[in-house]
Amino acid sequence: MTKLFTLFLLCTCCLSAHAALDPGQVLQLANEDSSVKVAAIQKMTEAADPDAARVLKAMADGQLFLSANKVVVIDGDKAFDASTGEPIKMPGNPDSITVNNRIRGELANALAALSLFDKDVGVRLASAQELQTRVSPDLVPVLARALAKETDNAVKALLKMAHAQANLGNADPAARLAAVRVLSGSSSPNIRSALLPLTDKAKEPDNKVRYGAISAVKAIDGRLELTENLARVFSGLSLGSILLLAALGLAITYGVMGVINMAHGELLMVGAYSAYAVQSIFRNYFPNAIDWYLPAAIPVAFFAAALVGVVMERTVIRWLYGRALETLLATWGLSLVLIQAARIVFGAQNVEVSNPSWMSGGIELMPNLLLPWNRLVIIGFALFVLLLVWVLMNKTRLGMFVRAVTQNRAMAGCVGVPTSRIDTMAFGLGAGIAGLGGLALSQISNVGPDMGQGYIVDSFMVVVVGGVGQLAGAVWAALGLGIFTKLLEGWAGAVIAKIAVLVFIIVFIQKRPQGIFALKGRVIE
C-alpha cells in the first residue's frame, strides 16, 4: 500500500511539472472523423510538447478512452486525465477511441518526430534514423525546430537529410532546390529513390530543380557504386582469408612435405567439432563465461587435429612416402573413416556453433557498407595463423629441420636430424593448422560431418596455384582467388563464378604448372 502511494506521489510530481495540454485539442483526438483526428495529431506534433508524446503514446497503445466528454488514459487499473496527466477516479464504462491504420501510421510518425526532442541523445539518434525512411512534408516545421535545437552533430546531420527530404515536396522551387543540394551529399539508396521523381519533367516543372536532382542522383549513384565495389572487395578479402586458413595446413603437408592429403578437409572438420565440444562444455559448466569459449577452443582445436594428424602419419602415410597416387587413395579412405566417425559420435545432422556476442554486429563504414565483426575477426585470425606458421617454419629449430629434410633427406639424416620424427611432427603441425582453420570456419559456416568435403578442392586449388613449397604463394593465391571469385559473382552469379574460377585454374596450370611462385631452376623428374 505504501509502495503504491509513493508511486502515486511520484507520478503526480512528475506530471504536474509539465504544462497541461489544451483539453479542447485533446478532445479532438476522440472525434468520430478520422481527418479531424489526423489534424489534431499533427497540431500536437508541431507544438512539440513533451506532454503530447505521452498522450499520443497512450493512443497508439490503445489506452485512450472517452468518458463523459473527457479524454482519459486508462493504464491497467489506473486512470489519468489525458490533458493534465492528473490521476482520476476510474470512470464507469468508458468508450474506446478507434485507431485505424491511417491513424496508426500518423501516430508512429508523430511519435518519432516528438522523440526528436527527447533529452537522451540515443533516443534522438534512433528517431532521426527512423525518420530517414519515411518522411512526410507535414513534418517540415517540426524538423526545422528540432534542427535548430539540436546540439549533437550526428543527429544534426541526419536531421538535415530528413528535413531536406521533407522539403522535396515543398511548393517553393527555391526550397526544393536547396533540399536537392543537401541531399546530393547523401549515399543512401532511399534518398536516391526519393530524388528520382524530381528528375522527371512531368513531375518537376522547374528546370533548375530538375537539373539539380539529375546531378544529385548521379552523385549518389557514383557513391553507391563505390560502396558496392568496396563491399565486394571486402567480401573477397573475407573469402580469401577463409581459403587461406583452409589451405595453410595444406601448404605445409602438401606444399612443403609433398604429401597429398585428401583427408585435409576432415582435419578442418575436427577443428570445427572441437569448437562445438568446447562450446558445449562451457554451456554446461561455465555458462557465465560462454563468450570466451572461442579463445579456449584455439588450443583444443589445434591439438585435437594435430593428434589425428600424427596418428594418420604414423599408421598410414609414412608407409607411402614417395608414392603420391597411393597416398591420395589411402588418405581418401582416411577421410571416409573420419566422416563416418563424426557421424556416429556427433550425429549426421549439422551441429549448432554460435558466435560469441562480441562477434555479432559490425562496423558501419558508410551507409549500406557494413563490415561484420565475425568476418573481421576471421581476417585477423588468418593473419595470426599465417604469422604463426611463418615463425614456426623460419625461426624455430623444428622449422629448420623440416626445411632441411625436404631439401635433402639423406644429408639431413647424416648430420643428425631425426628425419622420421620430423616427418611426424611436421605433419602434425600441418594438421593442427588445419584444425585452427576449422575453428574459424565453425564461426561462419555449417558444422557437420560433410563440411570438409566442400573445402578440399578449393584448398588444393590455392596450394596448386600458389606453387608448391611456398607460403607466400599460398597467401597471394588465396587472396587473389577470393577477390576474383567475389568480383565475378557480382556480375555472373555464384555458380558460374565458381565454374569460371575452376576453368581459369585448369587453364592457369597449363601455362604455369609450377604455380605463381615457382622455384627457379631446371628439374628432371
Binding site: 587413395l329 573413416v337 563416418q340 557421424r343 556416429i344 575452376l502 596450370i509 628432371i524
Partner: protein
C-alpha cells in the same frame, strides 16, 4: 610375317580366356533369361528383377573400371574425373529417354517436365535430334570423346602428370557437377532425368526390355575386355606401358608421348560414356551427383582392389566392391563408409597389386617355383 587383324585379335587371348568369356556370355545371354522368364518366382533358381538390375549395374561399373585401368594401370595416369565421362554418356542417352516419355509426363507436354516447370517454350538447340536413337548413340560416343580430347590435349601437351593431373581432373568433374546442378543448364538441375517410360516404343519396365539391356551390357563388357586385351598387347599398348614406366626415355627414343596418352585417354572416356548410356536405362535415373568427386575416386578403388595393370582385375574389383556396397547399405548402412575407407587404406598399404596380385602370390608360394 604380318598376321591378319582377326588373327591378332584371336591370338591376344589364350584358349582358357576365350573359354571363360564364352561361358560368361552363355550365362548372361541364355541361362539368366531362362531363369528369369521361365522359372516361377517361388523356385529357388528364379533370378529376380532386382538381381538382374544389380548385376547389370555392376557390369556397367566393370566397363568403367576397365576404362580406368587402361589409363591408370597401363598409362600411369590416375584420373579422378572419370565419373564425368560416365555421366556425360548417361545424360546423352537420358535425353533420348526423356523425349520418349512423350506426352505421358505430368504436364502432358511435348517438352520434358522440368522444361515446362521452368516455363521454357521450346527445346534448347543442343536437344535437337535427341528423339532419334541413332543420333543419341552417336552423342554418347562423341561428347565424352570431345571433352576428353580437349582437356587431355592441353593437359598432356603441357606435360601435367601425377598428382597435379589427378587434382585438375577432380576440379573438372566438380565444375561440371556445379554446372549440371543449375536449372538453366537444361539438364533437369538437381533432379536430373528420371521417370523414363520406354525405348523405341517398348516399355522400359517390361522383363523383356530388362533382359535386352542386361544382354547388351554383357556383350559390351565382353567386347570391352577383348578390345582392351588387343589394345594392350599391341605395339601401342607396349609404348603406353613404356611411357608409364619411363616417359623421358620414351621421348628421347623418338616417340611423342602426347598422342599415345591422348589416344588412351579418349578411348577410356568413350568406354565410360557407353557404360553410362547402358547404366541409365537400367537404373532409371541420372543426376549431377554422378559427377561428384567422391564417385570418381571410388572408380579408382575398384581398380586398385582388383589389381591394376591386369584386365580381369578391374572386373573383379568392381564386382566385389559393389556387391559389398549393396550388401552393406542394406544390412549395416552406418558401417559402409568405414568399410570403404578401410578398403582404400588396406589395399594401398597391403595389396599394391590387388586381389589378382594376391592370388598370384598365393599360387606361387604353394606351387613349385620355376
Amino acid at each position: 610375317m604380318e598376321k591378319s587383324f582377326t588373327l591378332r585379335v584371336l591370338k591376344s587371348l589364350n584358349r582358357k580366356s576365350w573359354l571363360a568369356l564364352g561361358l560368361f556370355l552363355a550365362v548372361t545371354l541364355v541361362v539368366v533369361p531362362v531363369l528369369h522368364l521361365l522359372v516361377p518366382p517361388e523356385n529357388a533358381f528364379h533370378v529376380s528383377a532386382y538381381a538382374i538390375t544389380l548385376f547389370g549395374k555392376i557390369m556397367c561399373y566393370a566397363i568403367v573400371a576397365i576404362a580406368m585401368d587402361l589409363i591408370w594401370g597401363y598409362g600411369g595416369i590416375l584420373s579422378l574425373g572419370h565419373g564425368l565421362f560416365f555421366a556425360l554418356g548417361g545424360y546423352a542417352f537420358g535425353m533420348y529417354l526423356m523425349r520418349q516419355i512423350g506426352r505421358d509426363g505430368s504436364y502432358q507436354s511435348d517438352l520434358p517436365d522440368f522444361m515446362v516447370f521452368l516455363d521454357w517454350k521450346k527445346l534448347p538447340w543442343y536437344w535437337s535430334g535427341s528423339d532419334s536413337l541413332w543420333w543419341v548413340a552417336f552423342l554418347v560416343i562423341v561428347v565424352p570423346a570431345i571433352v576428353a580430347f580437349i582437356f587431355g590435349y592441353f593437359a598432356f601437351r603441357s606435360r601435367i602428370k601425377g598428382v597435379y593431373f589427378s587434382i585438375i581432373t577432380q576440379a573438372l568433374t566438380y565444375a561440371a557437377m556445379l554446372l549440371f546442378f543449375r536449372n538453366e543448364t537444361g539438364f533437369g538441375g538437381n533432379n536430373g532425368f528420371t521417370d523414363f517410360k520406354r525405348i523405341l516404343g517398348y516399355s522400359i519396365t517390361s522383363p523383356d526390355m530388362r533382359l535386352v539391356l542386361f544382354g547388351l551390357t554383357a556383350l559390351m563388357l565382353a567386347a570391352t575386355l577383348v578390345f582392351a586385351r588387343w589394345l594392350v598387347t599391341s605395339k601401342f599398348g607396349r609404348v603406353l606401358t613404356a611411357i608409364r614406366d619411363a616417359e623421358s626415355r620414351v621421348m628421347f627414343i623418338g616417340y611423342n608421348p602426347l598422342w599415345y596418352k591422348l589416344f588412351a585417354w579418349v578411348i577410356s572416356a568413350i568406354l565410360c560414356g557407353i557404360a553410362g548410356a547402358l547404366y541409365v536405362p537400367q537404373v532409371g535415373i541420372i543426376n549431377p551427383s554422378e559427377m561428384s568427386p567422391a564417385n570418381s575416386i571410388e572408380i579408382a578403388i575398384w581398380v586398385a582392389v582388383g589389381g591394376r595393370g591386369t584386365l580381369i582385375g578391374p572386373v573383379i574389383g568392381a564386382s566385389v566392391v559393389n556387391l559389398a556396397k549393396s550388401w552393406f547399405t542394406v544390412s549395416f548402412p552406418e558401417y559402409w563408409l568405414f568399410f570403404l575407407g578401410l578398403l582404400f587404406i588396406l589395399v594401398t598399404l597391403l595389396l599394391p597389386h590387388g586381389l589378382v596380385g594376391l592370388w598370384k602370390t598365393l599360387r606361387q608360394s604353394r606351387g613349385p617355383r620355376t
